[in-house]
């Protein structure tokens, strides 16, 4: 009996009237519901790489800043961040190569230097950053007595300040270029706002500094150092929320595949809630505590921030594929 509720088919609007300037379905008045741009062909390897690369870079930058400006405690504690900075990029190259249509030709990426292409710039940056991160981690290992023999002697030759400076500049490039890369396409969710590079940068720095906090909490470093790291991490989380807000506002309707539907939960709950809000609250709460409680709270906050960073990359990445099929958002992007 339910069918009786349906209105009879209208005589005025014959069904084939969809193409050519007449609205139909979810389209924006274009050719049927056909998308304007092609759907990105990349798979999960790409957001995983963006996440790891960004986190490693963020950890390197945080640890380097502590080396240059921090107290003796800060320096000792934060130097452990160099381990993570060296470990995180290790899976990056395999991930990047695995996503290629022709993995055996990965080295073609380095046959030219073409910074105009963010993909090329990123490949060079990763290639340059990884050995620097390794060298700096090795010299830290030598300091703490983990490295012996001739290798230890080799690390003495390393100009540390220079390595930290160069590594930090490369690290900042690595942390931000991924968002610029996605923005340098015609996918509305990625390209409409100019802030995606800033969003990814903030996420990389908050998760990277969180990784440093994580190691510091585990190794039982002085509470003053933990508090300082928490302040830095919280500043990064606040910055991240501010940039995300700007990004969503600039994107307008183009952000709908991210803010509603399938990717709303990973984005709001994962990236914003667990990735930024929860660590802020936990760190705030931790300021009143000491000893074990402080360390557990810091650890929890750091883990949340790191996981949230992955949720952010993944949800924006996947929602971009949906956005590429959004005809009206594409027309909006190309409005004069």
């Amino acid at each position: 009996m339910k069918e009786a509720n349906h209105p009879p088919p209208s005589q005025e609007s014959p069904s084939p009237a969809r193409g050519g300037g007449q609205c139909g379905g979810t389209g924006g008045g274009g050719y049927y519901d056909n998308p304007i741009v092609r759907r990105p062909v990349w798979t999960w390897e790409v957001p995983a790489y963006f996440w790891l690369g960004g986190m490693g870079a963020g950890a390197f930058v945080t640890a380097s800043l502590a080396q240059t400006l921090g107290s003796a405690d800060d320096r000792r504690t934060a130097a452990d961040g160099f381990y993570l900075a060296a470990a995180a990029p290790v899976p990056c190259a395999p991930l990047l190569i695995g996503d290629l249509g022709r993995p055996a030709r990965f080295h073609h990426m380095l046959r030219i230097f073409k910074p105009l292409s963010p993909m090329n710039l990123g490949a060079w940056t990763l290639t340059a950053f990884t050995p620097l991160a390794f060298a700096r981690a090795a010299s830290h290992a030598a300091d703490t007595g983990l490295l012996h023999g001739p290798l230890r002697g080799l690390t003495r030759l390393l100009p540390r300040r220079l390595t930290e400076l160069a590594g930090s500049l490369l690290g900042l490039t690595l942390a931000g270029y991924s968002g610029v890369l996605l923005g340098a396409t015609n996918v509305p969710l990625w390209a409409k706002s100019k802030l995606l590079g800033g969003v990814f940068m903030a996420s990389a720095l908050s998760s990277g500094s969180a990784a440093v906090t994580l190691q510091a909490a585990r190794r039982g470093s002085p509470e003053a150092t933990l508090h300082r790291l928490a302040t830095i991490e919280s500043a990064a989380s606040l910055g991240e929320m501010a940039v995300i807000t700007g990004y969503l506002m600039q994107s307008g309707k183009a952000a709908r595949p991210l803010t509603t539907g399938r990717f709303a939960a990973p984005f709001w709950l994962g990236a914003v809630g667990i990735g930024a809000l929860l660590p802020l609250l936990l760190h705030r709460f931790a300021t009143r505590h000491h000893g074990r409680t402080l360390r557990s709270l810091s650890t929890a906050a750091a883990l949340c921030s790191m996981a949230g960073s992955l949720a952010l990359r993944w949800s924006i990445f996947e929602a971009g594929k949906v956005s590429s099929e959004d005809q009206s958002a594409s027309f909006e992007l190309s409005k004069a």
């Binding site: 193409g19 092609r38 249509g101 022709r102 073609h108 830095i232 190309s334």
Partner: protein, 281 residues
């Protein structure tokens, strides 16, 4: 010094440039016979895309892609509106626009995408490593990557070559050659543009008030991507043919994007520096 750099970077001298070649696709002449689609597939030995019915008029091709380099659209305009009293059926053979400022070419990190001596945009199949960046970069949704499981040039990016092989032998591209109504015209871009202006004048004189050219140097669609070397005469607004009003060239906003990213990075570094310094006292 420069020579050494060129050798190191595998930079070859480009071939001496010839006159720019392109297509003028006059949609007012198209009868939707799809001869261009078939000729393109045959000459370029592109595999079939499977047998699918889209339900969208006579268009069962769907869209341009890695193995479809010409696509005939069938636009049914069954309702009259303020600009038009009669029902009509528009047809248009879509193709890679061979943009003067090509987003795909600028995105390509391997240098696989190059500009040929005919000023066309071409993917070198032996260089492309299938990174896929050109795919979402193209503002027209033209270029695509072949899936990793396929019988055809697995994993690399493909699009119209403007029959580069035929051009080398002074032959007309397969689609233009096969078009029975001269809806697809091939030639020197400059001369085609001249012809297009004339044809537009003719149509306007006959009362086709909504006719327009798309991809000419003076058009607003050329603001970012430059004149299109494969351009069109349309009978309705570009939107009706799924063509963007102002196709975006990612390079134009790249500096701003890097700028915001750097601003966030520098802001963080300053805060962290202050906090660490504060700890030394």
């Amino acid at each position: 010094m420069i020579d050494g750099y060129k050798r190191l970077m595998n930079l070859e001298e480009p071939l001496p440039s010839k006159k720019a070649k392109g297509f003028f696709t006059d949609t007012s002449l198209c009868i939707g016979c799809k001869a261009c689609e078939v000729a393109c597939k045959q000459w370029n030995q592109l595999p079939a895309d499977g047998f699918a019915i889209t339900g969208n008029s006579y268009d069962n091709t769907g869209h341009l892609g890695a193995t479809t380099w010409r696509h005939v659209q069938f636009i049914e305009q069954a309702k009259a509106n303020e600009s038009r009293q009669e029902q009509r059926w528009l047809m248009m053979s879509d193709v890679c626009k061979h943009c003067a400022n090509a987003a795909c070419l600028e995105a390509c990190p391997t240098g696989a995408l190059v500009r040929t001596e005919f000023d066309t945009v071409y993917v070198q199949q032996d260089i492309c490593n299938g990174c896929g960046f050109c795919v979402p970069a193209c503002p027209f949704g033209v270029i695509d990557r072949v899936p990793k499981e396929s019988t055809f040039e697995v994993g690399t990016a493909h699009k119209c070559t403007l029959c580069y092989d035929r051009l080398k032998d002074d032959m007309t591209p397969a689609c233009a050659k096969s078009c029975p109504t001269a809806s697809i015209q091939f030639g020197d871009v400059e001369e085609l543009q001249h012809r297009a202006r004339q044809r537009l004048g003719e149509l306007k004189a006959r009362g086709e008030s909504t006719a327009r050219l798309y991809g000419m140097p003076e058009g607003k669609e050329a603001v970012e991507v430059g004149p299109l070397h494969a351009f069109f005469l349309l009978l309705d607004k570009p939107q009706a043919y799924n063509l963007p009003e102002v196709p975006r060239l990612p390079r134009k906003t790249m500096a701003e994007r890097y700028g915001w990213s750097a601003a966030v990075g520098i802001g963080f570094a300053m805060v962290a520096a202050l906090v660490f310094r504060g700890g030394r006292r």
